[in-house]
Structure formats: C-alpha cells, structure tokens
Symmetry: none
C-alpha cells in the first residue's frame, strides 16, 4: 500500500502546493467584519476541495457566525471513524509593515511557504484533505472519514460549539484528529497531550468625559491610564511571578515529580528558543518552574494590548478620558475559564480607584484546558505513524497554547482528540511573516495515511 500511496504523493506534490496557495490567497480574517465575504468565499472553496478530494458528501452549514464546512466518506459501518477538525479562518495581519512579503500572496522562499495561514491552520488543515485524496485515489482508505472545518477558531469557535451540539449523530466518531499544533522540533517529533485554556477580558477605565489639559486639570482629575497601569501591575507579583487574584490557583493540577521529569526530558534548547525571539533568556512566569513547565502546565496573565490617550508623534499634554487593556489568561488543568473570568473581574473591581474612575470589564472569550491520555489506541496509532516517518518515537508534549474547541468537543461530543501537528515554533503563527516549511507540509501528508492504517488495525 505504501508504495502506491507514495507514488501518488510524489506525482501530485506540485498540484497540492498550487491548491494550498489558492486557499492561502483568500484573506479569511475572522476578527474583522470587513472580511465577512471572504469567509463565505473561503468556505465555498474548501467545500469544493473536499468534494474533489473524494468526499461523498460535502456541504456548507450556515450559522449565526461564519459557515462550517462538513464533508464525509463512509467506507464501512464496521470501520473506525476519524473526525478531522481544522479551521479556515486566520489571524489579522497587523503590524502589516513588518511583513517581508504580502500576507495573502504566498511565496516559497528558503524552503518555506510564507503567508498568513501557511501553518495556522490552512497549511496544516489542508494536509488532511490531500492525505485523504491520496488514500481515496489509491484505494487505501480503511477508516470512515468526516471533516469539519470552522471559520471562527481565532475568535472563539462560537458557531461551531452550537453546531456540534446540534449535529451529535452526524459527527459520531471514534477519535477527532487535528493538526493545529507544533512539533518540539524536526528532530523531536511530538504529540500534543495538553492544551491550556483561556480567559480573555477587556478592561476599560473611564475617567473624565473628555481629554483634559494636563496642566489645568493635572492633580485634580484622576488619570485613567495611571489607574489602569497600577491595576494591571497589581495583578502579578514581581518576586514570585505569581498571579495575584484570590482563588486563581485553586484546583490547579500539580504534576508529579515523574511527570515533570518527562516534560523536562524534551530536548528544549532554552537559549536557542530565547535567541529566536531576540531575548537573552526566558524569565517570565513563576519562580520554581522551568520555562518548559511555565509555558505548558502553569497558568499566565498577559496583557495582549493596551491603549489610551495620545499615541501620535511628539508631545500632547492631556489627561486621557479613557484607557483600555486586553488581558489574556492561559489556564491549565483544574481551572474553569468562567470561574477565572469572575475572579479576575472581581479583583479588578476591588482594585479600581473608588472615585473618579469607572472600570468596566467585558469577557471576550474563553475556553477550557484539555489533557489527552497517552495510553489510547489513537495515541498509539499516531505515535507509530510519526515514528515511521520521522525515524524516532514522538514525545508527549504539554502545549501552552489553547484550542478551546478541543475541550468543547470532549464536553459536547464526548470524543477525545489527537493533536498531531506538524508545525514548528519558528513558523511565526499569529505574527508577521508566518510560514510553514515545505518539508513539514509534505511529511504531514505522508504521515496521516499511516495513522489511518494503524488506527484501522487497532480494530481488528
């Protein structure tokens, strides 16, 4: 089987790339209302791609938000069913000036595909479509396959959550397969076993009803930027690196010494990781944990954006009327994002000045953390497939990122997920100059059919 399949893949590599480029050229930025027509266009394109790849059923489900693309091919009622999940929406592109090439005009340079979505998640999601095509074309598909691609992963997966609840039967499957994560490295394949949850809150501090002259009013009116800085500053402790929100750590799963040893067994080159982002070391987060642990199994509080007052050139001497901050908290096993959001808001309200400033919090989105078992049939199939293509056994990896929908799948559909991602940390996802190595794209397409094969075997 492998020879036929590999021959097919070799023959069609260039076309696969051309098709991916078509997909990448659609600026499907879900967070910007102006791109709503692009979301429709992108969903239609993807639906057509599924059909051409061999889906017997491929359709677009309209939702309150962006459309969901669904496809399936049922080979046998006895065969195990794999539900593939991906997302066709991408992140915004600002700061646009920092891109070396146009974000929606993908190019190949230095063995990499450059463009918004090259990795996250168009490039990775499309590997599944092409692996599926190859298995169908070569008659080697031994599992039932279902696809669901959403257009709101970067803005909270609101529509998909509702839609899953409404289509439990259609989506019935043995495992959900997802490529939306990274390898520890090309030489260190890994399968993501943990994802952090997220609580994202916007804070507004309203002071006077208009910008004031800082001379005539300075000292009289409370400054909302000063107040917001003090408030945000109080949410973390410099000495310990801990988050100073009462109850924040309640229930956080503490990993055993053995588990921590395994996490730290990954050949994580801290100096290289730091250097790649222009730093001389990794010093964020809590004391008493390694960087690997801090970004994998410990919660965080990061301001993702702040603004208020005059931000142009030179000096303008005002007391701003308002200040805003967007705060993201990454959560770990044992933390409920709704509870954490409440605790955050309560603490912000408690710390806010009692006079002269009105603080308002708005929860923008949230998601539960997720932990996958490493002793399941699906995990073993994924591990064997990767071992075969990479030549070494993958490590379990606890990622610091969040894919809130993964824990939603577990809660709504009752199905676990296997996070077999083929990205690299250097792919600059969510940043300017996002890219995806060609080698990873093709390696993914080669590895996925092996997973299906081993997973089908596990049913024998």
């Amino acid at each position: 089987m492998e020879d036929t399949l590999n021959a097919y893949l070799a023959e069609h590599r260039e076309r696969f790339l051309d098709e991916l480029f078509e997909y990448l050229r659609i600026p499907s930025i879900s967070s910007e209302a102006a791109h709503r027509p692009d979301m429709e266009r992108c969903a239609a394109w993807l639906c057509g791609a599924l059909r051409r790849a061999g889906a017997e059923r491929a359709e677009i489900f309209q939702t309150e938000g962006n459309p969901i693309v669904y496809g399936e091919r049922i080979v046998s009622p006895e065969a195990p069913t794999v539900l593939v999940y991906g997302h066709y929406d991408v992140m915004p592109v600002d700061p646009i000036d920092e891109w070396r090439t146009e974000p929606f005009q993908p190019v190949i340079r230095d063995g990499r595909i450059w463009g918004r979505g090259a990795d996250d998640d168009k490039g990775q999601g499309f590997m599944h479509v092409k692996a599926f095509e190859a298995m169908v074309a070569t008659g080697t598909l031994r599992c039932n396959v279902k696809f669901m691609f959403e257009g709101e992963e970067e803005i909270g997966s609101g529509a998909l959550t509702v839609w899953c609840g409404e289509h439990r039967e259609m989506l019935a499957a043995d495992i959900i397969l997802v490529s939306d994560t990274s390898l520890l490295g090309w030489e260190t394949p890994s399968i993501t076993c943990g994802l952090r949850g997220l609580a994202f809150v916007e804070v507004e501090a309203q002071g006077p009803n208009r910008d004031l002259h800082s001379g005539l009013y300075g000292g009289a009116a409370v400054n909302p930027v000063n107040a917001l800085c003090k408030l945000i500053g109080s949410l973390t402790d410099d000495a310990t690196g801990r988050i100073e929100i009462p109850g924040f750590y309640d229930g956080v799963r503490e990993f055993s010494a053995a588990e921590r040893a395994e996490i730290n067994a990954a050949p994580f080159d801290e100096a290289a990781f730091a250097a790649a982002i222009g730093l001389d070391g990794l010093r964020g987060g809590e004391r008493g944990y390694t960087a690997m642990e801090r970004k994998g199994i410990r919660p965080t509080l990061d301001v993702c954006g702040i603004w208020g007052g005059y931000t142009g050139e030179g000096a303008k001497t005002i007391i701003p009327a308002t200040a805003h901050a967007k705060v993201s908290m990454r959560l770990v096993a044992g933390q409920d994002f709704e509870r954490i959001t409440e605790l955050f808001i309560a603490q912000v309200e408690k710390l806010a000045p009692q006079y002269g400033i009105t603080v308002r919090c708005r929860a923008l989105h949230g998601g539960y953390p997720y932990v996958a078992p490493t002793d399941s049939a699906a995990y073993r199939a994924a591990a064997r497939a990767m071992e075969e293509t990479f030549g070494r056994r993958p490590l379990p990896f606890y990622s610091g990122g969040s894919i809130p929908i993964i824990s939603t799948f577990e809660r709504v559909l009752g199905i676990k997920s296997i996070l077999m991602g083929f990205g690299l940390d250097t792919d600059a996802i969510h940043s300017p100059n996002e890219n995806f190595p060609l080698a990873n794209f093709y390696r993914g397409i080669e590895t996925l059919p092996l997973f299906y094969d081993y997973f089908a075997d596990s049913r024998k």
Copy 2:
C-alpha cells in the same frame, strides 16, 4: 490725573474698538505656513499702531521665524521701566463648522467681541497699546515703556527666545507686564503668580523581537506591557498620591499656611468644576492638599498616552513586542525640568525588569516653572490698580498650566513678570467662538495706567 485720563478713554472708546477689529481681521495663524504673509502684515499693522499710540521708536525685527514688533518710549532715565509682552499670532480655527460667526470677521454680540484672537492675545495685548496711548496723550505716563510682541507664542516662541538673548540691553527693564491669562472671575479679580513647568518623557519597553503567541510563549517571555504597567504603576503611591521618584520633591517650595489659606480663599466651586468634566468629585493627586492646591502648587505625573500590542476589535492573543507611554510631569517652584527628567529616567531604569525587557526613555520637551513674588513693588502696584477698578483686592492665583516663555524671560533677561490678565474662563480661547467681553477690554485699558502710576510711585 485720573479724570483727564478717564475723559480721554471715554472719548475714544469707539475708535479703540474699531482699531482692535482691524487687528482681529488679519488671520495671523502662526502654525499654518499659508498664513506667513498675514504674519508680516499683522506685524506691520501693529508696528504702525505702536507708533501712532506714541512710541518714539517702533520697528520690526526679522527673525528665522515670524517678525517681532518692538516699540519704546523713554520718559526719563530715573523712571522705572515696564517691558510689555504680548503676541499677535493666533490659534488655528478648525473645527470651522462650529463657529457661529466668521473667526476673522469680528462682531459684537451680547456684550462680547467674537472672533479668533479677541482675547488670546490680540484683545488683551491691544489694551496695553491703548492704555499707553491714553497716558501719552494726557501727559500722565511716568514710566519708561518697552513693547515686544511676538508672532510665535502658539508654536513655542522659538524666535523670541533667541532674540531676547541677542537684545538684553535694549530690553533692560524693571518688570515685564503681560496680559495673556484669565481672572478667576469678574467678581474675583486675580493675578497669576505661578505657572507650572513641564518634563515630558516617552518610555519604550522592548520585549521580544516580534509579537508572540501568548499561549506558546506565555510564562516564558516577559511581557513588555505587563512590565510597563508595573513600572508606571510604581511611580505613584496610591495611599498618599505622591510621586515615587527619589529626589522628585527635593527643593519643592512648600507654601505657608497663610499662603495656602489665600489660595483656598478663591471661590472655587469644586462640584461644578468636577461636574463639567463628568466626574462626581476631584480625587487625583496628593492627599493633604485641596484640588486648587493640587492643580496649582503641587507637581503631577500623568500618562498622556499609552499603547502596545493589539488594540483592534475583539481578541488577539499575543505577547506584544513593545509598549510605549508618554508621561508628562507638571513641575512647580523649586523643580528643574532637566533634573526631574534625569531622576525620572533613572527611576524607570532602576524599576525595569533586569531580564527580557529593554527600557528606553526619550525626553521630548520641558519647561521651567515660574513663581512671581507677591511682595514685590510690581505685584503691589498691580494689586492696587485692580483693587481700584474692580472694587476688591485681587487674589494671587497659581495656574496649573505652563507659559514657557515667562520662565525663559527670567532666565535669559533676568526680569520677573507680572501676569495681569483680564480674560475669563468662558472666553473659549483655542476653541471655536473665541470671545472677549467688552467690559473686560475697557476695564483692562482703565486698570493698566493705574499700575504704571503706582509702579512709578514705588520708586519715590
């Protein structure tokens, strides 16, 4: 003497107004290059007005910027010399739609002169020319008088600063007399005795070399927005409202209980002041001082602008590469803006995280504070003059704003200034529908000769 003078003023009131209207019709907007010919025209008009009023010498000095108009009349080498300062340039007129009448077509309505410059500073400056004319015409002038009118006050007084340094001898005087400020109210005459200085610094916190995914990096990389918030938050103390920069208060002039009582004697309606800016009270600044004191005689630290990371709609989960803040410190008597800038930068550098963040400070501009002594002959003469025309003794007023040229005069020429302004807070200077009550214009012309008289007496 007063009778002769008052008769003269009564006889010529209409003409004074006609002349002011000619002056107001010249659109001398210094910040707009298109108005450069109007600056020349305005200077020439004013020079002629000084000559006609009785100046024995009246000439235009060309500079690198707009011309300076100089005039003088020397009555006796023994007489005290008054140097009058004013400015013939005005602010731009946008938003032009909000003007009820044409800004450069002055009209009288409801007892007020409406038009750009009606108060700031053509109307107030021209009172001096007409008071001078009246004293010359009636033979009552007992002081030497020098006039300097600049055309760049609204854009930083660059040319005047240089010019003063080059003409120290010509400008020698006992006092500088300025009408470019407001009264606390018609019923509450006042003389401005304090102006705050300014130190304006931009702070940049640089973290990683690009925006990072807050999941994949959160806990590993230090967040520059979090760091900047903590840093800015640490610069003030919540409990005391004091600025926490070592040495910041060194040398700050503490006012005596008597002086403070006088400051607080002003009929300041705190509730109305707060309500006008949408607040239910004034709670900024230091504990232990009234709002009137906090905005007049105490220094402040206000963030005028802050920005970093994602500031668009919705959620974007990043650790920003950089964060910036623009900080304005209003300074009071005893504070040197260069020294304060150094102390600020030193403290910011001390508080900055030791790893993962690079903090850079850039001083954008600064100015010295100014305090006029209330026990000088000139102040006493001004106070007596106002008491005579207003029927009540003026209060010393410490303004929170800055007029940088006043402290420049003291440093460059070694001469103190008396800020005897006749404007009102309702005059809408710098805004649409600038106006100046006719009563204030005429009251100013009546009051100024009394000042000269009492000031001449002080030499006896």
